[in-house]
Symmetry: C2
Subunit: 204 residues, 2 copies
Amino acid sequence: MTDKRHLTKTQQRNRGLIREAALEIFSQYGFRGATLDQIAEASGLSKPNLLYYFPSKEAIHEELLGGLLDLWLAPLRELNDEGDALAELLDYVSRKLQMSREHPRESRLFANEILQGAPRMGGTLDTDLKALVDDKAAIIRHWVEQGRIAPVDPYHLIFSIWALTQHYADFDVQVRAVLDGADPYPGAEAYLHDLFLRLLSPRG
Amino acid sequence: MTDKRHLTKTQQRNRGLIREAALEIFSQYGFRGATLDQIAEASGLSKPNLLYYFPSKEAIHEELLGGLLDLWLAPLRELNDEGDALAELLDYVSRKLQMSREHPRESRLFANEILQGAPRMGGTLDTDLKALVDDKAAIIRHWVEQGRIAPVDPYHLIFSIWALTQHYADFDVQVRAVLDGADPYPGAEAYLHDLFLRLLSPRG
DNA sequence: GTCTATACCTCGATAGAC
DNA sequence: GTCTATCGAGGTATAGAC
């Protein structure tokens, strides 16, 4: 039996190659659009060898999805109720945008999954995701009540941060078509900082 | 030869049934994830009968994509350079959000296509889309220069409107998981109106 | 651990009766 | 115009030699 705590060098290396290749292919073609041939090609391993390390195509996909929600929610998890309210939220936006820039494939893999109704993410959306968002929304509501930020709906605020940051990864081809291929991130950083600063600055 | 201008009642009806069913299935599963069996089932026609009306699976998909970009850009096209700047933009946001609410399947079909690199949309992004956005961005830049709205990057403003409105259709399952299944649109309408009002109101 | 060969199935598309 | 039956390609997974 292979024990996760006692993997040989080869095993670690090949499982890593497969994960990397699978991320590349699944994020571009979706689960059903991707084929084991493509993943084999991209990883440099043979197709039967893929199925030596993972029992099925589905298992490879699950391996990727497993850690994805955690990675995805990490920036939100860092939101600190004891920090400066406005700075905390602006930092969150910045971290989330950086996540899109550094992990566009993970963003697209996630988007593919959600777009199709999250058939392979099970109940993690209703449990883990919802619990964290409820927790952070309560913090934001508190900040509003204390007048530390302008009044906003905490849930729609969080949705808007997700939407605005992930858009640059998920709709990359559209963005670059409009911008003639230019890197959108410097402009996005400035625009989003400005947007949320104006939205959230307490007035009067 | 079938001439589009002389379709029988049956032809019109069945082609309509196929389009409706294909939209339902393609938007949920993507092009490769969808099967003709599913579309046949959903349309109430037999699989060979689908291929009597359309030469291939790809042709059905193209039929849907064909009009999609136009439908998609219609709200932006209405942006009128002679109207009141702030009201024009807020109305655009509202129209675009309504499009998400009324056409979530079209939104997801489009998102599926863009997410995977728009392999079947040809050059329409680089030509039609870019031309329209450049045109409207020039109008917005003009409004900024005249001081009729606060200074913003016109391109990122348009991206942000797309991202924020489409998010509610494309990431519906995630939004509803967080909101316990509640309808997000009333809250979204208020939040987005508020957001863009604060962002764009000229100050000083 | 890794390969070649292949079993087996799903799916798009066609043949041909009605 | 619509059906049943079926072909053939492509895809997941397995067998078995090395």
